[in-house]
Homo-oligomer: 158 residues x 2
DNA sequence: CTAATATTATTTAGGCTTGAAATATATTCC
DNA sequence: GGAATATATTTCAAGCCTAAATAATATTAG
């Protein structure tokens, strides 16, 4: 019934990784819910809307729906709804793609750009305050390790 | 129009923290979506259901709805729906609390315990595989820093 | 050219999530 | 005791999210 030392350490490693993941998730939820609440209170907006606008803000010419869902790692149908609402509010427009009548480019309007600029500045300040306990070096260190993790997770897709 | 060195470094610190948060979020989404997919494919279940069962599994005597939503950091109304569905599937029961007819304890059934045990073992293995690039020491190190962050975020609520 | 296949986006059904309002029960203060 | 207040939970409307089905258009193979 006894186990070998190697099995024991494998088991400890597994538990340590699980513990890390649970802390990770907890941290992420706390920060996300704080951001959600501030976006709601100060801008009457939501995190998904902010995420879509942030993605679009990096592409002057806009993004196709499929590119948008790819960048954000959410489903196609999801993006449709969020973009619909942003378009209703005049923050984005769908521009036809010449030569492909299936697709359209989604682009921030001038108004959308302005709204996003204000939200992005506030967002950065909120994060800065919440992560104040981390020095820039510490941030860079952890970020680099997460990059490594993301890369290794990406490779596993085969 | 020029800025002082201190302002410049403040700005750099803010950007470093923002970068960390973005990596953090990306990592979290990748892992979560992988877990979601595996839970669906291998157990025909979902992450929210798993989370509720995980919380309940730590309390033999069960938890009140409000405790459950507190532990999981989600809204009250949310938990109602998830518990409703788990109860329909026979994984949990609502037990009246003697002396307080408003409240009830939610508790895993025997069947719920068995289901959860199988899912938890698989879950730990998935995490172990995804975080294989992190050594136990590295995990403990990062987990400790996240604990510090969570603590500092908790204090800010005043 | 035409048929088969692939791509792009939307729709649909079902579940998750929130904040606010509603309901029921407890507690506290006179 | 009875009124005001607080607590526990559910309900509701709106939006988020997914996977699967559908529709429209493009591309490729024969």
């Amino acid at each position: 019934m006894s186990i070998q030392p190697e099995q024991r350490s494998e088991e400890a490693a597994s538990k340590a990784r699980l513990r890390l993941w649970l802390r990770f998730l907890k941290t992420s939820r706390i920060i996300e819910s704080e951001l959600r609440e501030k976006l709601r209170q100060e801008f009457a907006s939501t995190l998904p809307r902010f995420d879509v606008m942030a993605a679009l803000s990096r592409y002057e010419e806009g993004l196709k729906m499929s590119q948008l869902s790819g960048v954000l790692r959410v489903s196609n149908g999801n993006v449709t709804g969020i973009v619909d609402r942003l378009a209703q509010d005049g923050a984005v427009v769908r521009v036809p793609v010449p030569g492909d009548r299936r697709a359209s480019m989604v682009r921030l309007t001038k108004r959308g750009q302005e709204e996003f600029a204000a939200q992005a500045a506030a967002h950065e300040a909120w994060i800065d305050e919440m992560l104040a306990g981390f020095s820039p070096d510490e941030c860079a260190d952890i970020a680099a390790r997460l990059d490594g993790l993301v890369a290794s997770l990406g490779e596993r897709e085969s």
